[in-house]
Amino acid sequence: MEVSEITYLQAIHDAIDEELARDDKVFVFGEDIRQWGAPLGEMKGLFKKYGPNRVLDTPISETAMIGAAIGSAATGLRPVVQIMFAEFLSVCWSDIFNAMCKPRYMSGGKIMFPVTILSYCGAGISAAGEHSGCLDGMEMSIPGLKIVAPSTPYDAKGLIKSAIREDNPVQVFYHKKLILGGLKGEVPEKEYTIPLGKADVKRRGSDVTVVATMLMAHRALAAAEKLKARGIDIEVIDPRSLAPLDKETIFKSLEKTGKLVIMVEEPKAGSSASEIAAVVAEEAFDLLKAPIKRVCAPDTAIPFTPALEKVWMPDEDNLIKAVTEIM
C-alpha cells in the first residue's frame, strides 16, 4: 500500500477536502474559514476550490450555526460545522443536547441529522482558561451524540471521513498541540475510512492497560519507553471514538493485564476517564487486579501561565507514578 507522510493538520484538511469533492451534499461553515481557512489553517484553500455555496463564513453565532446545521441536515444536506474552540461548544450546548441529539429519538425516527461538528481542544499552548479545554467527558453525557478524538494523522483522516458520512451527529475533536506541534504520520494514498467505535492498540504490552486519547496517547507512548526501562510493559489503547466506546478492545487487554490506568486531558470529575472507569468497574470487574487509576487534570479551570499549565496537564511522570502504584 502506497503511503505518504503528512501532518495531522494536513490529514484534517484532506479528509474535509475529499468529502467535499466526493459528495456535493457536504458543505462546511464556521467562523473565519474563507480567508483564514479556519484559525489554525486546516481548511486553507477550500473556499477557493469549492466556492461560496460549499464553504461559508458565519457571524459569531454558535447557536445559529448549530441550528443551521440541524435545519440543513434535516432537509437533505450534510453540514460540517466548525465550532472552533471546544469551550465554544458550551455556547451552543442546548442546541447540541436538545435540538440536535434528541429529535431523532423523540420523533420516533421521523427525522435525521447527519451533522459533523469540528472543534479544537487541548491545553499546552497557554491559550488560557477559555481556549484550552477538552470537553470529551462532558459531551459523553449527551445521548445521541457520537464523539471521536483522533491522535494521529491516520486516525484523524479516517475518522473525519467516517464522521461526515455518518447519518447521526458526530463531534470531532482535534488537539491544538498536535496541530501546532506539526505532528506527522503515515497515511495511505488510497482512500480509506475508519469505522466509528473502533479502538486502536497503539502499543502492545502485558503488564498494565493504559487507555489514553489525543495528546495523552502520545504521552502514554513516551512513558511506555521509560517504563520499559524499569521492566514494566504497558499496553496503550487509544479508543479514538469515545462514543460509541469500544469496550471489547479494553476488556480484551484487561484479560491479559488485569490493571487499568486511564489518562485524559480533562479535570478528573465527570471526565471521559470516569465514564470508562465506570464501564470497566461494572462490566469487567472480574478482570481487575488493582484499582482503576485516572490520570487527569485537577478539578479546576486551566491556568494561563506555562509554569502552572504544565503542572495542570497530565504528563508522563503522572502516568508513570500511577502505573507504578498498581504494579
Binding site: I70, G71, N98, G144
Partner: protein, 319 residues
Amino acid sequence: MKIEKEKLLWMYRTMVQIRVFEERIGSEFAAGKIPGFVHLSSGQEANAVGVCANLRIDDYITSNHRGHGHLIAKGLPLDTMTAEIFGKKTGVNKGKAGSQHLTDMAVGCLGAEGIQGTPVPVAVGAALSAKLRGSDQVAVAFIGDGTLNTGRFHEGLNLAAAWKLPFICYCENNTWAESTNIYDVTALTDISQRAMGYGIPGVAVDGNDVFAVYEAVHEAVARAKKGEGPTFIEGRTCRRHGHFEGDGHLYRSQEDKDECLKKDPIPRFRKKLIEMGTMTEAEADQIEREVKEEMEKAVKFAEESPFPEPEEVYTDEFA
C-alpha cells in the same frame, strides 16, 4: 388580494379544525385522558392558517410548545396527531414526542421545540438548505412573543438576514409568556420594531384576521423567493386559554380575557366568507359538522390504539 375559492374554503376548514382539535384536546386533558401538559392555541388560528395557506407541502416550518395549530395547518392528520398526544403507538411519533415535540418531515414539519428560541435557527438552517440546493422552498419559524428575548432568535434572525435566506419569522404576539407580559420584559411598545436591528422588514398585522396574515406572509414569501431575504412578522393575537391547561391565568385582567373572546377569528372569517359568497351558512355548518366528525374519529382512533411496547424505549436513538 384575491384568493381562490378552494383555498378560502381550505382556510376556513383548517381554522375550524384547529379550534375543534384544541377544544377537544382540552376536554380530554381535563378528563385525565392525556398525560403531561398541553398548550392550546385556541384563538390564534388565523396565524397558523394565514401562514400555511402560503406554503407548499415541501416548504418547511418549525414550531413551538403551542404548535398543534401550526402542524394541522401544515397538513398533519388529526388522527395520528391525537394518538401522539395520547401517547399511543400509532402516534405520528410513536408516542415519544407528545404534544410539545410533534415532528413530521413528510409534511415539512422539522419539529416543535420546547426550548424557546430554537425554532428560529433550525428553520434558518432549512432555509439555508433550500438556497444552497437551489430550490424555491421557504422556511417559516413560528414563535411566541416571549421568545423574542432569547439569544437564539437574535442569532438566527441575523444569520438569515446576512445570508438573505428564504426565511420568515412569524411571531404570534399574544402578549403573554406564561404569566409574564411581553411589555414588562422589553422596552419596546411595538414588537415588530425588533426587526430594525437586523436590517430586514418588520411587519405587524392583526393576527386575528386571517386575510391580513395571509397577505403579509404572501409578500414575505415572494420576497424570500426573489432572494431578497427574510421578513419578521408580528401577528397581534390573543390566547383564549391559560398558558397550559390547568393554568387559571389569574394574572390576566378579566377585561383582557373578555376582549380576547370577542376577537375570535373564526366567526369573523365565517361571516366574511358568507358575505363574499364563498360559502353559505349551510355550507359553513356542514364544514363544522365534518370537522367535528373527523375529530371524533381521531379521538376514537387514539383511544383504541395501544400504547407502544416497552422495547420501543430502546429504538430510534440513532439513524
